[in-house]
Amino acid sequence: MPKSFLIDTTRCTACRGCQVACKEWHDHPANVTKQRGTHQNPPDLNPYNFKVVRFREHLGADGQVIWNFFPEQCRHCVTPVCVDVADMTVPGAMVHDRATGAVLVTEKSAKLSAEDAQAVIDACPYNIPRYDPATGRLTKCDMCIDRVANGMAPMCVKTCPTGAMYFGERAEVLETARKRLEAVKADFPKARLVDADDVNVIYLLAEEPEHYHDFVAFAQR
């Protein structure tokens, strides 16, 4: 049985502990960023940010401000199409670890041509992998496979102070997700789980995915 995450955005305060802890664990250097009129920085996923908290705001029907936070990362799909596409040209460039459910990029991804690497990126329904020009490899969240293999929670989960993130056996996480959904429906009638049957990183949203980010749900493709 693979592992799964539940990311309950109704509990997220966008403190970005997960974003920074992910960088620290992976020894990623900082990007040089600029203030562009938003709190969201870096602007996008990149080879040094496997996780980025996205900020999006809009006015609700009653005129109240709604500010949504979306800690974005690879969904570690149950059937990862990126692995299939990579396998077509460089077998083993990406692997699906059956034990944990982790979808991983390997050093062989450097052998993908620019065009084939782009095909992998384009195949991802959630627009996750990024090309690293320095190494020629694809990059993305690795589920902290080194930690998970040693019985520890991924760094982002470990860091989250408000209980927005759960990690565990898939069946157990699905159960938690359903319970949380029921609980938050009282406050957020439009609450939903995103693509729960198909992904191992299950987001609980308070409202429609487009109010969070352009690539939250498969259906947004």
């Binding site: 970005r16 920074v20 620290e24 203030q35 920085n41 705001e57 936070f69």
Partner: protein
């Protein structure tokens, strides 16, 4: 905090006001989330919709600087709609006290005002007393001058209409908060108020918090689980630094600063030891002479004897009425009244208001010592942008200081828990912790005074000063020792052994304690209690998340202050499901009670609930502050409006300010500076950013100075999201990047549109291209009680920048 972090989960209503709790306390905020899980209503009242607001049930935008109007409206609502907890108000507050005939309030001014001196004669506000000196009380609350009726009259002016016109909050939103919070005025309901610098940094800062005290006392929310007034401290050890008197106005343990008019210890004690005529008032501060003698004994050891006033004469004395706060220090510097200085643990050239004045003032020093992790705007002031270093005379000594993780010792958190921290790694290079800088420095001075003499060498030479610093030894000194063999109960303590609790401190020189509040934290019996990590608790304690064996809490491990008010006068909990303490007929169980005495109803052995006030009652009416016995709404020093809708007094009549040529102020409703600026911190940078701007992954997340503004203001000024903006006040000019957002909205104040912008103060020039001090805009106007500057509200103007030089 009167309560503590975990206790927030017990609340039925959480009012977050003057605080951005989720952003500045991201870990502690989990207890707010827990309260929400338990069904509490969570409200955020703040000028800006922030990450905190996003997790609340609702956010109510409030014009910065109008908190007392908002809270005064709530007090009026409570009184008009009888939401108060009458039994609590009668038994535990001074609602029944009759105020003397000299008290008055007219058109914004309390009686006793001296316009020339900009101060009040507080004796005009005194209570009426009987022949014994006891306050006259009217438990029927019918006397026209009893506190309850004066309060009712005072706040009757705070109508929804007046409050809405002042604050810019709609009537509907006012009622939404008032109704939700005032529902906790029932015996078995609790509401907590979380605040921070958003309340303190105003010319009416102290009265903002007083206003919350009135609300919490009327609703019976003080002393109970899930209640209280909770100051969320922005630095992990601010509580400790306050307790240990890092500020100028007290000695450790909240003992007043000695003044020149009190030349002997007897004179000091006479002036600073309250006396009550009510026999069942504990009047705990009546013990102050014991604590002060023990403090002096801790400082001077064997040299301190009853015959020499325990060396009281060697302490420096302040002059009455003189202000020694940092704002006055900087002004003295500017006027060449200081030659040198030590600046530790603060970056004033970025964090103090009117930074241009501060930077100019620091240039007047001959020498400056800083201890820092990194170069700061202060250590490097001599080479700041736009100045020629050759023209700056200050000789700077920059000492490398250890990081928090490179030192061991205790930290007192917001909830007053004393927790021991181990050293994770040795300090890098030659870095030292502050104590390892100060202890040898004082020893060097002692050596020099011993060899060369000088003015009053005894002040240093007689001190009980260690050869070397040891954190645990210091913790023992803070707890305190016996200096003579002493019998406590049937146990005899030897000279040099630790005092078990502050009840054992004496004024005869037989005990020492560097801070009476911490006496009991390190004992012969249990060792260093700040290291306790035991989760055991009774079922009663478990019901409210109280862990008495995890660390230690001042005073005497009491986790919820004023807990005698959580029970009725017979000691029965008002909310049995979340009982804090309970009288079982012979003793208290639960939390450590506010004193061991029997409940208040016991005329012989019982004591009144509020043991820290002279007469035993919590003070709805407080005659001790500089700016009035009741909180009154006054506009900030720079008001965006011309008049006060329900008073003739626009600004506080007693707020302090400086008036050098560098201290300029905008006029009321100044057309040149029509926009309100509020300043703040953020999750990603810590305070002025001196540390966090040097952490690349944090700078990546929040790289440059921004100014948050409404879409309406941006449209009016032709500014687009991401544009460079020039922000100007009468004191300075700052560059920032526009963040145009729906999270800020214009306010309608007395029919007129008032725009408000917000900026963080985390950026400074030593980090390239990130922007420079926001505080170049803020004002040198202060609260009359604390001299805290009004960093949360001043007036500015903004325009689109053609070119930026500070942010690239």
């Amino acid at each position: 905090m009167t309560n503590h972090w975990i206790d927030i989960k017990n609340a039925d209503a959480v009012l977050i006001m003057g605080s951005n709790a989720a952003e500045h306390h991201p870990v502690g905020f989990k207890w707010v989330m827990r309260a929400k899980d338990n069904g509490a209503v969570i409200m955020h009242v703040d000028p800006k919709f922030s990450r905190t607001s996003a997790r609340c049930d609702f956010h109510v935008p409030l014009r910065s600087g109008t908190d007392i109007a908002f809270l005064g409206g709530m007090i009026n609502y409570i009184l008009e709609n009888k939401c108060y907890f009458k039994e609590y108000v009668l038994n535990y507050t001074n609602a029944s006290f009759v105020v003397g005939k000299k008290y008055g309030f007219d058109n914004g001014l309390f009686s006793g005002y001296d316009a020339a001196a900009r101060s009040y004669n507080q004796s005009a506000w005194a209570f009426e007393t009987d022949e014994r000196g006891a306050p006259v009380r009217d438990f029927t609350l019918s006397h026209e001058r009893c506190v309850f009726n004066l309060m009712k009259k005072h706040y009757s002016r705070y109508t929804l209409e007046n409050v809405s016109a002042t604050t810019g909050v709609s009537r509907e939103n006012l009622l939404k908060v008032y109704k939700a919070f005032c529902a906790t005025g029932k015996p078995d309901k609790a509401g907590t108020i979380l605040y921070a610098l958003g309340w303190t940094q105003h010319t009416v800062g102290v009265q903002n918090i007083r206003a919350s005290a009135l609300i919490q006392l009327l609703l019976g929310n003080i002393g109970v689980a899930g209640g209280g007034i909770n100051a969320l401290r922005g630095e992990p050890n601010v509580q400790g630094s306050t307790d240990h008197a890092l500020l100028y106005h007290t000695l450790p343990g909240y003992i007043a600063l000695p003044l020149a008019q009190w030349q002997t210890l007897a004179e000091f004690n006479k002036a600073n030891t309250p006396v009550t005529a009510l026999k069942n008032s504990a009047n705990w501060w009546g013990n102050r002479p014991k604590y002060f003698a023990s403090l002096l004994k801790g400082w001077f050891g064997d040299a301190a004897t009853p015959e020499n006033d325990f060396c009281y004469g060697l302490l420096p004395k302040g002059e009455k009425g003189e202000d020694y706060s940092y704002m006055y220090v900087m002004d003295k510097m500017l006027h060449d009244k200081m030659k040198g200085g030590f600046v530790f643990g603060v970056n004033p050239m970025n964090s103090f208001p009117n930074t241009n004045k501060m930077r100019a003032a620091l240039d007047h020093l001959d020498w400056l010592v800083c201890a820092e992790l990194h170069h700061s705007e202060t250590s490097d002031n001599w080479r700041r942008p736009g100045v020629d270093p050759k023209t700056k005379k200050t000789e700077v000594f920059l000492l490398p200081s250890a990081h928090r993780v490179e030192k061991e010792g205790t930290i007192s958190n917001s909830g007053r828990w004393l927790q021991w921290f181990d050293k994770a790694v040795e300090p890098g290079g030659q870095a030292r912790n502050f104590a390892d800088i100060f202890v040898p420095l004082i020893n060097k001075l002692r050596e020099m005074y011993a060899a060369e003499g000088g003015a009053l060498p005894e002040a240093l030479l007689k001190q009980n000063w260690p050869a070397r610093y040891d954190a645990e030894e210091w913790a023992r000194r803070i707890n305190g020792f016996f200096w003579a063999d002493t019998k406590v109960g049937d146990k005899t303590y030897k000279r040099g052994q630790l005092v078990p609790a502050f009840g054992n401190l004496k004024d005869d020189g037989s005990t020492s304690s560097l801070n009476w509040l911490y006496c009991g934290s390190f004992t012969e019996e249990e060792g260093n209690k700040s290291k306790k990590r035991d989760l055991s608790q009774t079922p009663m304690q478990a019901a409210i998340g109280l862990y008495p064996n995890w660390s230690w809490c001042w005073p005497v491990n009491r986790r919820i202050l004023y807990n005698r008010a959580s029970v009725d006068i017979n000691g029965k909990p008002y909310n049995p499901a979340k009982a804090v303490i309970q009288w079982d007929g012979s003793k208290w169980v639960g939390d450590v009670p506010d004193g061991p005495w029997a409940p208040q109803a016991d005329q012989e052995k019982g004591k009144l609930a509020f043991i820290m006030t002279t007469n035993g009652y919590a003070q709805l009416y407080g005659p001790g502050l500089k700016d009035g016995p009741f909180p009154e709404h006054y506009e900030p020093a720079e008001p965006p409006v011309e008049r006060h809708p329900f008073s003739g007094q626009l600004r506080s009549p007693v707020y302090k300010f400086h008036s050098s040529e560098l201290d300029k102020f905008a006029r009321a409703a100044d057309p040149d500076y029509p926009i309100v600026l509020t300043t703040y911190s953020m999750t990603e940078h810590w305070c002025g950013g001196g540390e966090t701007r040097n952490v690349p992954n944090l700078l990546e997340a929040e790289p440059q100075l921004y100014i948050e503004m409404s879409r309406e203001l941006a449209r009016e000024k032709g500014i687009k999201n991401g544009d460079g903006v020039i922000v100007e006040s009468p004191r300075g000019r700052v560059e920032a990047i526009a963040m145009v957002t729906i999270r800020l909205r214009p306010f309608t104040v007395m029919g007129k549109t008032v725009h408000l912008v917000g900026m963080p103060f985390a950026y400074g020039w030593t980090t390239p291209n990130c922007g420079d001090s926001t505080n170049r805009l803020t004002v040198t106007a202060y609260d009359p009680n604390t001299t805290i500057p009004e960093a949360k509200a001043c007036c500015v103007n903004i325009r689109k920048a053609d070119k930026l030089t500070e942010i690239l």
